[in-house]
Amino acid sequence: MTDENGPESRAPESESGSESNPGSESGPESSSGVERENNGSRFDRLPASLEDRSVTGRPTREEVVAWWTDRYGVPVEVFEGYTFWEKGSGKLWAFRGEAPSPIAIEGLGITFLRTRRDHWKPTTDAVQRFGHHATRNVCHVSEAEAKRFVAGEDQDIAWEGDWGYLIVAHELAGVVEPIGVGLYLYNELRSQVPKGRRRDLK
């Protein structure tokens, strides 16, 4: 039961949805009984498409999968068998089991995507789990750069592609392995690795 990452290493900035979601609001039920707003105390399954949507502004499964394909080239098939859930406004989770919606429990799969702001942001968990299927917006870094990145440091890196959230990957044991998310702006790669996941490997 030894755990190399005890709870003390979990930083408040962690991307994982926490027990309390200060940014979320508990939506009142409308007279029809259908939720119109997001309820931060439970997981709600994303609607398949816009036609199935009742909560205003909630992303659809279709949009979420299309975003991963458009932005990173992850094939649609990778997400077969997965359902996507919102707990806390704009905090999406990916789950590969059976659960009814809504469901008020502590966790459902892994944190997956933040959609609250204009630019959607994948989580470290999602990038590590699905990022090896990506074909674009993947920034391959050297060993030295990878160590700075996972330590949480920002660094100047030449990058010819799009700005915004990139998958940062390095080579490990002969395979390209995604480490996490970097925000690329003005020739600088800003590490988005949450505090609890940072390591000093130097």
């Binding site: 039961m1 030894t2 590969r96 089991g97 429990i105 966790g107 459902l108 590590q128 490990l172 002969g174």
Partner: protein, 302 residues
């Protein structure tokens, strides 16, 4: 370790047992098959210059020549998880399959639960429960790093676990890795016996009986329940099994374990147990240079 004198009649080569309990434990990681395979994990260790041995009894375990397995790329990527070697016993004994509904009643901090998910190709429905919210936080952190996408995490009392959040009313398999007096972790935590008392053993055994009983009730006819602890006390092991055999429709079944082990004991302090408790397995530290462990496999009546 005078507390262990009570086990002298049970253990061959008792002096070697005590000597083993004094030694620190090797650093062991389990390779996480959700993210990589043993060959790549070994290649990553080679690149990091960390020497390792592969225990023969179960593939995917590595004994590392470092006391900081967390400060490695493999750990960053969730390629491996640091856990005691014996804690890798329970999940393969439960043997979960893709598509099944699997219950881990006392799942935090998540080493065995993530092992269950990996064995089912991360495509079962793993209900990972723990009563402690703090420990659940550690479980979620570990599950996320290890890429476990098939787990629904709940924070309930396993003694009266309700299936209410879910659409199904029974599990195919359940693991009860029960809270216990942790005697078998003495090599990892030299202070493991600080709060030891026979009174505590009695208290925790009541808790164990109730959790196991509920897990058997929540498992479908023909389903499998595994009961494990990291302690030697028969009150927390065979006596708990004896109790559930009497109260619930289930039976103990044989299983394979490639580690050197002893059978369960059918008598303790003058009390005779159901003789089938001999099908359970006791793992002692001096036999395989590991921690101590107890494991039993039950089948629920049809």
């Amino acid at each position: 370790m005078d507390e262990f004198e009570r086990y002298k009649p049970l253990i061959d080569d008792f002096e070697a047992f005590l000597a083993a309990c004094e030694r620190p434990l090797p650093t062991v990681v389990r390779v996480n098959s959700i993210k990589t395979d043993p060959d790549r994990a070994c290649a990553a260790l080679d690149e990091a210059g960390i020497a390792y041995e592969e225990p023969a009894w179960q593939p995917g375990l590595l004994r590392l020549d470092t006391d900081r397995p967390g400060a490695t790329w493999g750990s960053v990527h969730g390629w491996w998880h640091g856990q005691e070697e014996v804690s890798a016993i329970s999940a393969p004994v439960l043997d979960p399959r893709p598509g099944e509904r699997v219950f881990a009643a006392c799942a935090a901090p998540g080493g065995k639960g993530s092992h269950l998910a990996a064995l089912a190709d991360d495509s079962c429905t793993l209900v990972a429960n723990d009563r402690s919210l703090g420990r659940l936080s550690a479980l979620r952190f570990n599950f996320e790093r290890l890429g476990v996408t098939s787990a629904a995490v709940t924070n309930r009392d396993a003694r009266n676990y309700s299936m209410k959040p879910f659409d199904f009313d029974a599990f195919d398999r359940a693991l009860v890795d029960a809270p216990c007096s942790c005697e078998g972790t003495i090599r990892k935590n030299p202070d493991a016996l600080d709060d030891w008392s026979e009174g505590y053993i009695e208290t925790v055994s009541t808790l164990q009986r109730k959790i196991l009983e509920r897990a058997v009730q929540a498992t479908r006819p023909g389903g499998v329940v595994v009961y494990s602890t990291c302690t030697f006390a028969p009150e927390e092991n065979e006596a708990v099994l004896d109790d559930v055999l009497e109260r619930e429709d289930c039976r103990l079944v044989e299983f394979d374990l490639a580690l050197d082990h002893d059978p369960g004991i059918a008598e303790w302090h003058g009390e005779a147990f159901d003789p089938s408790v001999r099908k359970a397995k006791r793992v002692y530290p001096h036999r395989n240079d590991t921690g101590g462990f107890f494991c039993a496999r039950l089948e629920v009546g049809e």
